[in-house]
């Protein structure tokens, strides 16, 4: 898995038009209620096509994951070898069981794609939320307190970075009897939290000597209040960007593990893609649809993360 923290500052396109357009808005904002970083970002985001397409896709995926029964009446688990063995897709039969064709066990690929959404998204969101909470906390401790805690946590992240991500996850998953969603989330989060820690640590360090923190301390704010009310909201931006993009990559990681034979028990895009590789030479459609859905979902999260990064970059204002 590529190290996304390194690409954090990538792609900060400075469209000159954007900068000049932003200025009068800021001027107008100064008259009324001052707008926050997030308020500004939101006004900017609403007009970005990448953001709109990405979030619409994600909302659609979330709906599919929550209520798969709304989208198909077919049973993803029951196969009919006699009638449907590797049947080709009927692309005009919208939302019918045979829309995407049938797989090697005569199961509706459309139904499997729809029902597989839930597990893939659960893994993606589960890992991302876990590492953002835990990794973020670690990063805050290291960045704010410095000294001993910083050395300890930084060395710990170095140690985890030394272990190749996929290998570590394979070792963990290979040792359990039942690979369930919480187990996969645990394995990926165990190896992935350091990514967020590094970003959060950097963000906290750049913020902790800012004037507004000194001002808050002078006014008598305690450590807890300074961290949660002052530093956290300002240090969140890069973390959210990295977390959004990471969400997509964890969905890929889950499917890659399924390809390596350590997939979830149950329906998931990854295990379907793995099954499909057996038939790719004669029946590419079995591979195309789950792989396409997976890629589309990942693409949506990357587009969203990219758009948010551009909107939050203060250099563009």
């Amino acid at each position: 898995m590529p190290d996304l923290t390194k690409t954090e500052t990538a792609d900060a396109p400075d469209q000159a038009a954007e900068v000049t357009a932003a200025e009068p808005r800021n001027g107008a904002g100064a008259v009324g209620k001052p707008r926050s970083l997030w308020g500004d970002a939101w006004r900017d985001l609403r007009r970005r096509p990448l953001f709109i397409i990405g979030s619409l896709l994600i909302v659609l995926m979330l709906v599919v994951a929550a209520w798969p029964g709304l989208f198909t009446s077919a049973d993803p688990g029951s196969g009919d070898l006699a009638n449907h063995f590797l049947q080709s897709p009927n692309l005009t039969h919208f939302f019918q069981p045979d829309w995407f064709g049938y797989d090697g066990q005569g199961r509706s690929i459309y139904a499997r794609v729809v029902y597989g959404t839930r597990n893939s998204l659960l893994v993606g969101f589960g890992v991302t939320i876990t590492i953002t909470l835990f990794g973020g906390l670690m990063g805050m401790l290291a960045g704010y307190f410095g000294g001993f805690w910083d050395s300890l946590i930084s060395r710990l992240t170095d140690v985890f970075f030394g272990i190749p991500f996929l290998l570590g996850a394979m070792v963990v998953l290979n040792s359990v009897d039942q690979i369930t969603v919480p187990v996969v989330i645990g394995a990926l989060a165990f190896l992935g939290w350091t990514q967020i820690t590094r970003v959060m640590r950097g963000a906290v360090i750049t913020n902790k000597h800012a004037d507004y923190v000194t001002a808050a301390r002078a006014l008598g704010a305690g450590t807890k209040r300074i961290l949660l009310k002052h530093i956290l909201p300002n240090a969140m931006a890069p973390v959210i960007v990295i977390a959004t993009i990471a969400l997509g990559t964890y969905i890929v990681a889950e499917s890659t593990l399924a390809y390596l034979g350590l997939g979830l028990n149950g329906i998931s895009w990854g295990s379907d893609i793995n099954d499909a590789t057996q038939n790719i030479r004669n029946n590419p459609h079995v591979l195309f649809f789950p792989a396409g859905m997976l890629s589309l979902t990942v693409l949506a999260f990357i587009m969203l993360g990219d758009a948010v990064r551009e909107a939050l970059d203060p250099k563009l204002r």
Binding site: A10, V159, M170, N174, L260, I280, L299
Partner: protein, 307 residues
């Protein structure tokens, strides 16, 4: 410079110990190597106990680790469960993966940097947008899907290359696997170069170079590119480690018997000595690559000096 390198090497020691202990702990505490020896059958308790004793597995974990490290520094990486020395496996697998990684990095550098420079210089135009969209798509499609599709197209349908790699793994056969391995990183290299170029293209030194009448080509290669490559070099440095470890998928698709293949087999069969041995070397490669990157900074940017 020399003192800096020595300090960095010393700093690596705790990280090396931590990483190797972590993988050692994961492999030996989570799995049971002795049970794995017997496959599906339950081992005879007396035999199992004897093997455990022979393999030093009846000791507490930290003692096992110390024992293992002591062995490693005497050049003994243990014996895999099929009786082969792990050092033999290492010697057979690492050159193959090294060649594959080399092919991947050369492709990343040539294609990624070129695309990045082209799109960075033509920011916002059609070329730029299409390169950006292309990188997004490449990042979103999992490696094992692109791997199978390219293998199918080039190896089977059009019959341009051999679909799988022979045991010797010469460079010629590693080109397509190298492309597959490089693809995702290539997209990142492209985007990093593009951003960096676009930031620097309006810098004063570029204007100076243009104003004193240097040819455009020289301005771009000597002035602009050299200054824009630092983030790219950082990325590639950390990528060497993940390419060598992350080649599991590529090596599985193209049947390359390299590091990824050995580790994959080792993990699935609970072959603890193989897994720990290979990962130990990977950790060293990863740490040295990071050091090399920091030293390269000084070459690229003369303002950076290491005391």
């Amino acid at each position: 410079m020399g003192r800096y390198v020595i300090r960095r090497l010393l700093q690596m020691i705790p990280v090396f110990i931590g990483s190797t202990f972590l993988i050692f702990f994961m492999v030996y505490a989570l799995g049971d190597p002795v049970a794995a020896l017997f496959g599906d059958k339950a081992p005879d308790p007396a035999t199992a106990a004897r093997i455990r004793h022979d393999l030093y597995l009846d000791q507490p974990l930290w003692k096992q680790y110390l024992h293992y490290m002591g062995q490693i520094f005497q050049g003994d990486f243990g014996t895999a469960f099929n009786g082969q020395k792990v050092t033999e496996l290492l010697a057979a697998a690492y050159p193959v993966t090294l060649r594959l990684t080399l092919v991947a990095i050369v492709i990343e550098l040539i294609v990624g940097v070129t695309l990045g420079v082209v799109s960075g210089l033509r920011r916002g135009r059609a070329v730029d947008s299409s390169v950006l969209i292309l990188t997004l798509i490449v990042i979103s499609v999992p490696t094992f899907v692109t791997g199978y599709v390219l293998q199918f197209l080039f190896g089977v349908k059009w019959d341009v290359i051999r679909p799988t790699v022979s045991p010797d793994a010469p460079f010629g056969e590693l080109i397509l696997p190298g492309i597959v391995l490089a693809l995702v990183s290539l997209a990142y290299v492209t985007r990093l170069t593009r951003t960096s170029i676009a930031e620097n293209v309006r810098a004063d030194y570029v204007r100076t170079a243009v104003a004193k009448g240097l040819p455009r080509r020289r301005v771009i290669t000597r002035h602009l590119l050299r200054n824009s490559l630092i983030p790219v070099i950082t990325f590639i440095g950390t990528d060497i480690g993940s390419l060598m470890g992350g080649a599991i998928v590529t090596e599985k698709i193209f049947n390359i018997h390299g590091v990824g293949y050995q580790i994959y087999q080792g993990i699935l069969r609970n072959n603890a000595p193989t897994v720990v041995g290979f990962v130990t070397i990977l950790v060293i490669v990863f740490l040295l690559a990071n050091l090399l990157v920091d030293l390269l900074y000084a070459v690229l940017d003369p303002r950076i000096r290491y005391a």
